[in-house]
Structures are given as C-alpha cells and as structure tokens.
Amino acid sequence: MSEVTFEQKINMYSRMLTIRRFEERCNVLFMQGRIPSTLHLYIGQEAVAVGVCAHLRPTDYVLSTHRPHGHAIAKGVALRDIMAELMAKVTGVSKGKAGSMHVGDIRVGMPPAIGIVGANTPIACGMALAQKRQGRDDVTVSFFGDGAINEGAVHEALNMASIWNLPVVFVCENNLYGASTPFGQVSKLENVADRAKAYGIPGVVADGSDVLAVHAAAGKAIARARRGKGPTLLECKTYRLCGHSRSDPLTYRSKEEETIWREKEPIGRLAQDMKAHGAVTDADLEHIEQEVEATVDEAVAYADASPYPLPEDALRHVFYE
C-alpha cells in the first residue's frame, strides 16, 4: 500500500465533513417536519464509508443498509439528489418513491439501499459474480452492521463469496449496538471479523474511527478482490454519536462510553493528524467547512425548490419501463 497523499487526506476530510454536515442538516429538517418518516444517521461513522469508498470506481458497486447516507455520499451520489429524496420530492434520486432507507444511485454504482438487515449481502455476491463473469476487475462492497452478522442471509452470502472467490468486500461497521442491543449480548466472539474463519476467508479488524486505518485495511481487501483473490470480511470498530433512528433518547448507553468515543471521533482526529503534520492550518479547515456548508445549502435549496411527485406517480415503476 502506498502512502496516503496529502490530497487524498484532504479529500477524505472534506468527504467526511460533508456527510457530517449533511446529516446534521437532515436532523434539523426532520425535527422541523420537512423530512417525513424516520431517519438513521451516520454521525460518528464517517471514516468507514469514506475510507472504504476512496478506493472505488463508478463501476464498483456499494450496497448499503437502513443507514445509507454516508455510503451514498462517499460513493458519489449527489447531495441534492439525496436531499430531494429525503424531502419526498420528485427530483429525489428515487423520485420520492423510496426515502431515506433506500438511498442509492445506480449511475454511480450504488443500487437502492436495503432496509432489511443483512439482506444486501447475497445481492452483493450476485453483483460481484456478474463483475467477475464480465471480466471486469471491479469489486462490490457490502456494508452492514454488527447486528446484521447474526442474520442467516449474511452466513449464506459469506459462504457463497468464499467458495466462488467473489470480488466482494464485506464491511461490517461494528458500532457496538444493533439498535439498542449491545453486540456482546448477541455474540460470543468479541470480533465480528473472527467469524470469517468459518468460511476460510480473511477477517480483518480496523479502527473505524481512524479514516487512515480504514483506508489502509480496505485498500488491501479491495486490491485482493480485484486481483481475483476473493472476499474479505473487514470489521471496522466504530460508534454512532447519534441515536439509532429518529428521536432515540440513547438511554441504553452510558455517558462515559459516549465520551470516550466522542474523543476518538474521526473528523476531528484527521484534522488533528493533518495539523500535527503541519499539512493544514485552522484557516484551511475553515475554508473546507465553508465549502461543505455551501454544498449542503445548495442541496437543501434544490430540494426545497423541487416539486412533490404527482399522487398518481405512485403507480409508475412497479415494473421496469
């Protein structure tokens, strides 16, 4: 693995910040009732999506979950298309048909995110199988949580990826909880990655709060997959600094735990790193901040100005036209 360049760091920083600011705005809009439904925010986990997706091309695929905004932004789905979807506008990436839990844009290699826990993993295998058959050296990344690892679908998928040597990287974001349930209560193993042993594939643990660590580990796994060497189960230890969904009071976690993780928070951490290396100044960061805010503002303005779908649009796209 070659060293991460300064430019790459800046890109990753800016991407992580974009996710953070975008979602903070989502939260406000949700509170204001301008985003209907529910919302699963990614705040605190940005390093995982960004560190992984930094390696991906548009012809690579990313499959996501009920918590997809970070993956979508990292994979290159346009902010305005996401925001319009969340606000149920016809300009949304799914024309307002799908909402937050299914964000994705196939034009940049991300099909609609899947809200059924674990269910994206066999689909990821199918996409990877197609990539392999088509002679592409592309890969598919399946993101899922620590809670998902106990779903039967994930087991079947890991095994199929293993026996067929598929170019798929399974990225488990272990944020310590599946909804309110601590991981330690639903698994005897401490590390999700150790489950890889059951399939004879590599299992790797990375510090999911450190985008550089994620970037390095993901880089290896993705390169391995591109070389035809098969799948990896990459576990990123991380933490969501927000509630599980809409107004989760977070009463099942301790404040101490939250504090520890808040200190490890990935965006500040990369800023520290870059500043320590003298690569950036506070002014540089402030500049990025402003750029990011502007793109988020633009996305909200676009979504705001967009019309709602027609009621009878509901009838379209049941079948492919």
């Binding site: 009732g33 209907p36 439904s37 529910t38 149920a88 506008k89 016809v90 799914s94 307002g96 048909k97 799908a98 909402g99 839990m101 299914h102 899947i114 809200g115 059924i116 826990v117 674990g118 269910a119 809670g147 998902a148 106990n150 779903e151 039967g152 679908a153 599946g178 909804a179 309110s180 349930t181 601590p182 209560q185 639903v186 698994s187 809409r246 107004s247 989760d248 009071p249 009463t251 099942y252 976690r253 709602y308 779908p309 027609l310 009621p311 009878e312 649009d313 509901a314 009838l315 049941v318």
Partner: protein, 337 residues
C-alpha cells in the same frame, strides 16, 4: 376500567398473561434492553423490570431463529409471545411460520401443539417499501395459522389473551397508526383508538367478529385502520340517506363468516376495505366468499377499496393516493346505488 391506547392494552394483556401463567414469555429484538425501547413500538416497555430478562428475552437480529425458537419452546411446553419489529420482516421467517409452525400439528397427526403468538406491526407510515406492508393476506392463506387484527384497545388486550391461551400458532397484526405509542416512539398521522379496557380478566374469543355500526343498505367491512375509515364513511353516507352496516371481523382466521353473510343477506351490497394491495388481498377473499355463498342476495357488484398493486410509496402525497380513505369508501359505496 381504564382508558388505554392499544400499545398499553397489549402491554397489560401480556403482563396479565405472564402473571397468570409462568410458561408465558416474550422474545424479540430490543424488547427488554434496560433503557431501551420496549420493542419497536413500546409494547413491552418496562416488562423486563418486572419479569427479568429470562422472560423478556432479547434476541439477536435473527428472524428465522426467533420464529424457530418460539416454535420449539411452544412444542416443549412454554407459551412464547414473539415479536417482529415490522411485519415486513415476517418474510425473513416465512419458512418457519408457513412450513413449520402451521404444519407441525398436522404432521404429527394431531399429537403436537404449537401454542405460540407472533406479533407483527403492519401498515403504511411513510417509511416506504420495506417497512409499510400489510401482511395479513399471506398468512390467512396458510392453513394451520390463526390470524387476528385488533382495531381497538379492548380487542387488542382480549384477543392477545385469547391468542396466548390458544393451543395453535396465532399471528397478531397490529397497525402502527393505531398503537397510540407515546413519547419518542409516537407516530405522525396516528389515529387515537384510546378506549376503555377492563382491568379484570377477559378474552375476546378468536373467531368472533363484531358489528361496529348497524345499517340496512350496504355492508362495509374493514379491519385495523380501515374500520375507522369505514365508520367515518358510514357517518357521511348516513347524511346522504345511505345506511351502512360496518363490520370488523377482528379475527381473520377463523373468520366469522356467518356474521358477514348475514349482514350481506340483509343489505344486499358489500364494500370491503383494506390497506393491502388489491390483487391477492384479503378483501378479494371476502368478496369471493360472498359471491359464492350469498350471491342471490346481492343487489350490486362487490367493491373492494384497496391499495393499488404497487409497493408502498414513501412520499406522503403518493402514500395518500395509495391508501384507502373515507372519500374512496364513499365513492365506492355510492357507485353501488
């Protein structure tokens, strides 16, 4: 008598059954975590404090496993009440419910019973395709399963208690907009079916429907939220001189068929209302039964007011178009006169 929401009524029903019978226990995702949600819609909130974590058992996210554990525990002498966070996830445990739970008694020649309850929230609440479906029709089509769908707090508690005491697998479909869950888990657009619930022990026997409103000109059948829509429509229709009888079957399997047939024999007209997709829906099955068994009493076509054949859309404007409504029921009813 206390005034309760459906979420509270279900909670009380569970509490009473757990106190009455030590074999009763709950299992599901996030149902008993200290400081947690009490299930996706607060139904089991606080019960783990009272009964402990053995009897309010938090599970991994493993729907097949949850159903299988409930089946096995029921076969071996316990009385599980299992829980799925959204009805849509029943598809993940479909084999266990349709091939195992439903057929175990039959496969054993009647010697094995599976006294389990599976609770599942259904209905469209702006969460889109995978968190908004109505699942009832899939399960009424599986012989060996009983299916209930309470629309009031009184029925919710009474049917739950009857389900727990039944020796067969019973699915309870609960509508998200009817729970009346409070605080952070409350739902936008919720109806408020707060009702009087006796604190004494009572059951609503499985298989008994109820006439919610007496009428003479047309029978309107609803379930869950559509009972309320039917009532609303009936009121407005009355102002226009049409007297509608509103029936809430409460239990879908076994169905109180005679109640329905007798009503149609009296009114000569039938509108069946449900939130589910039209093709293959439960409403069609009621229509077919009437077209077969009360045909000679019919004065008009049988109308279904159902969702169109699309996944549940997310955007509220499309969702409103998709869902049945008082106005749609009125229009359908009037078309029969």
């Amino acid at each position: 008598m206390t005034m309760m929401t459906i979420a509270e009524a279900l909670r009380e029903g569970i509490r009473e059954e757990m106190l009455r019978d030590p074999r009763v226990f709950c299992l599901g995702e996030d149902i008993g975590i200290p400081g947690g949600f009490g299930g996706a819609f607060t139904v089991t909130l606080g019960l783990s404090d009272q009964f402990g974590h053995e009897r309010i058992l938090d599970t991994p996210i493993s729907e097949t496993g949850i159903a299988g554990v409930a089946i096995g525990a029921a076969m071996a002498g316990l009385r599980p009440i299992a829980d799925v966070q959204y009805g849509d996830f029943l598809f993940c445990m479909m084999d266990q419910l349709a091939n195992q739970a439903a057929k175990m008694t039959y496969m054993s020649g009647g010697t094995v019973s599976v006294p389990m309850v599976m609770r599942a929230p259904v209905g469209s609440t702006r969460r889109g395709t995978q968190h908004a479906q109505s699942l009832e029709a899939f399960f009424t089509h599986v012989p060996g399963l009983k299916v209930v769908a309470p629309s009031t707090a009184y029925d919710a508690k009474g049917l739950l208690k009857a389900a727990v005491r039944d020796d067969n697998p019973v699915l309870i479909f609960e509508h998200k907009l009817l729970y009346g869950s409070k605080g952070p888990r409350s739902e936008k657009g919720a109806l408020s079916p707060i009702g009087e619930v006796p604190s004494t022990d009572y059951v609503v026997p499985l298989g008994e429907g109820i006439i919610r409103r007496i009428g003479t000109d047309v029978t309107i059948i609803g379930k869950l939220t559509t009972v309320y829509m039917a009532m609303g429509a009936a009121e407005k229709l009355a102002q226009e001189g049409i007297s509608a009888e509103v029936i809430d079957p409460r239990t879908l399997v076994p169905l109180d068929k005679e109640l329905i047939l007798n009503s149609v024999r009296k009114t000569g007209r039938l509108v069946v209302v449900e939130e589910d997709n039209k093709t293959g829906g439960w409403a069609g099955d009621i229509a077919a039964t009437v077209a077969e068994e009360a045909f000679w009493y019919l004065d008009a076509p049988i109308k279904r007011v159902s969702a169109p054949d699309t996944p549940p859309p997310f955007a509220p404007v499309m969702e409103a178009y998709y869902l049945p409504s008082v106005d749609k029921i009125i229009a359908a009813t009037k078309s029969l006169f």
